[in-house]
Amino acid sequence: MASAPSKHYTDDISLLVVTLDTNPFFWSTFSFHFSDFLSQVLAFLNSILLLGQLNQVVVIATGCNSCSYIYDSSSNRNHASTNGTMPALYSNLLHNLDEFAAKDHQFTTDHKPPTVPSSLLSGALSMALCYIQRAFRAGPMHPQPRILCLHGSTDGPEQYVAIMNAIFSAQHSSVPVDSCYIGSNNSAFLQQASYITGGIYYRPPQLEGLFQYLSTVFATDLHSREYLRLPKSLGVDFRASCFCHKQTIDMGYVCSVCLSIFCEHHDKCSTSLYLARLNLMLPQQTVGKERLLNVSGFITLILSCSQESLSVKSLLISSIYVS
């Protein structure tokens, strides 16, 4: 990286951080094959690198149990395969992807989950943002960063707060989050991410021509986007759903202390009330394990399972454990 300052960056040089959904549970149930998907994505990544000598591509694999960097075009450890049949991009990426998939599989618990688990989008976004901050730190001359999420698995409600945090951080440092969602229903998380950060959300209608979609919609750098007619985001529904009946509501009651949302008026906010009681009930040092189990069961009963409440619940529980 010693030669970095001497590079002459202009406004059309991109740093593209791609998060790649490798969730095996999703791909095994999906009609389109992962290998077909990957070959189109690799061609796309190669075309990004060919668009400009200084363009940089980083790929983060997003599994269902872990996330990892699998390719960095600026790294000096990229070498073409020994027999010369494959270019550096493919051989390195595929090699790392294999390693990652094997590792991700190890984390999988023995019992098969009842539903398709979500990918760890929050982790991948957090890592991507950390990487981009490093590019910002390199000085005033840096490539224009953006994030592209290639995802197919469904949203994991337990990641809601973490993903929102990442989105706001991206917005704060003006990093657009583009998303290409290939699953069957729209992803609310990615729609929000692209809407808030000013990126593009697109769901290709036909996956056979994925490369075409990727190269026409997502290959353009931020500077050129001003001159193009790219898919416009349709309005995202930002209405909240209440914690008690998980209905989407127009008007509701918000707790002033914990910001829980309820659709009807109560005298006291149940979430805050139980937290306050927990604070009194459990002196911090003398928390016993059995007692904690009871407590978490207690909270689980109290809170119903709307999208927001799930995440808040898991956080509440984890915050109790931390103390």
């Binding site: 269902c64 872990s66 984390f107 008007m251 002033s256």
Partner: protein, 422 residues
């Protein structure tokens, strides 16, 4: 020409021999820089570019201190934070504010920092309200009423930057007190006073006013620009605020930004109130309506109040017609990180990394930067106590100050499920 020999660096002094007699031989433009010594904060890197001196270690130490202070606060008042704040900023525009010890003047520095503070404040507290009060000529004036739009406050302040007369602490407090007394009880009442003067010109007994503020649970904080004053310290102690005196502009900025994250909730208010709020839907793109905020017809965009069906342009806001607070779910989500902060990371000193029990990785988990300095010696790094991943100092600051997620914890479901099913 003797003095040329004495100062060989100054080659062309022939013309200004007369000027050199006064002001230690400095040109007027030179004098402006002698106090700043701005060149001292620059250094040359290997390719000859000028860069600011590497102060990461110092910054990081400062940041750790701040984090520890916050963590100890959070331990005593866990989770309970005042998220709906009503804050008055009192700006002292007495003649002391025209002093030039801050450059170009105290007043200009205050205005600049208040601007950035207001933006940061609304970023962190989307459900809160700010009002501006100025004090000069012995009286206090309300510049803007409590409101949620940063632009209107900034515009009002920039238009009123003239200073004269004396500051009056008591008048300012009385005015703020009468305004804050009307707000509903769930809101957290706060005053932030930016005080340049070393005196206060009061019509009555200020101690009574302080007691009144204490009784109304108004949290008063003061940032002084001159020297510490007893009355300010007393005010802050009585009402539970903080008092600090700025040393220079960067210190002032730091002090003022400390007031942007929500303070721990006052115990009496910790009982939660439920507030009625509306979640308006975005109006269809083609529809034409007159918005209440600008009172002009607009096509598309905008939101419709669910109660009185009137159009507003931006969220969050309060409906002008029915007074309903209008927000969207991301505004709530923006505040969640205050309730669930991530734990401070533990420092790993370079020496303990040789210890084989530690599995030391050579790169930062977040940004993949090498954690080895020149000569392959490990540098100072930190690790998350939960997921045990290592991070560089820059990522540590970014994660805690902006991201509010631990990339390590977020990218391992295993560690997550273990913590929540123990």
């Amino acid at each position: 020409m003797n003095n040329i020999a004495g100062r060989p660096l100054n080659g062309d002094v022939e013309d200004d021999d007369e000027d050199e007699a006064n002001d230690d031989g400095l040109e007027a433009w030179e004098r402006a820089y002698t106090e700043d010594r701005s060149w001292e904060s620059l250094q040359e890197d290997e390719s000859g570019l000028l860069r600011p001196i590497d102060t990461t270690a110092v910054h990081h130490a400062q940041y750790r201190r701040r984090l520890r202070a916050l963590a100890s606060n959070a331990a005593t008042a866990r989770i309970q934070k005042g998220l709906i704040r009503y804050l008055y900023i009192v700006v002292d525009l007495s003649k002391a504010a025209s002093e030039r010890d801050f450059r170009p003047s105290r007043m200009a520095v205050i205005a600049k920092q208040v601007e950035s503070f207001i933006r940061e404040f609304f970023d962190q507290n989307p459900l809160s309200h700010v009002g501006l009060v100025t004090t000069k000529d012995g009286v206090a004036n309300c510049l803007t009423d409590l409101g949620g739009s940063p632009e209107s406050h900034i515009k009002a302040l920039m238009g009123k930057l003239e200073c004269s007369g004396d500051a009056s602490l008591q008048n300012a407090l009385e005015l703020v007190h009468s305004n804050l007394n009307q707000i509903p009880s769930y809101g957290h009442r706060e005053v932030l006073i930016l005080y340049s003067a070393l005196s206060t010109c009061d019509p009555g007994d200020i101690m009574e006013t302080i007691q009144k503020c204490k009784k109304s649970k108004i949290r008063c904080s003061v940032i002084g620009l001159a020297a510490e004053m007893f009355i300010c310290k007393h005010l802050c102690q009585e009402t539970g605020g903080t008092y600090s005196v700025a040393l220079d502009e960067s210190h002032f900025k730091e002090l003022i930004l400390e007031h942007s994250p929500p303070p721990p909730a006052i115990a009496e208010y910790a009982t939660a109130n439920l507030i009625k709020m509306g979640f308006p839907q975005r109006a269809a793109e083609g529809s034409v309506a007159i918005c209440t905020c600008h009172e002009e017809a607009k096509t598309g965009g905008g939101y419709t109040c669910p109660r009185c069906k009137v159009r507003v342009c931006e969220l969050p806001t309060e409906c002008r017609i029915c007074g309903l607070t209008l927000i969207s779910s991301p505004h709530l989500a923006r505040s969640y990180h205050h309730l669930f902060p991530i734990v401070p990371f533990a420092e790993i000193s370079p020496s303990s990394q040789n210890d084989p029990s530690h599995n030391f990785t050579n790169t930062c988990f977040g940004c993949q930067q090498s954690l080895l300095s020149q000569g392959n010696k490990p540098e100072l790094s930190v690790s998350c106590p939960k997921c045990k991943q290592q991070f560089c100092l820059d990522c540590d600051i970014y994660i805690h100050e902006s991201l509010h997620n631990c990339p390590g914890c977020e990218s391992f479901r295993h560690s997550k499920s273990v913590t929540s099913s123990q």
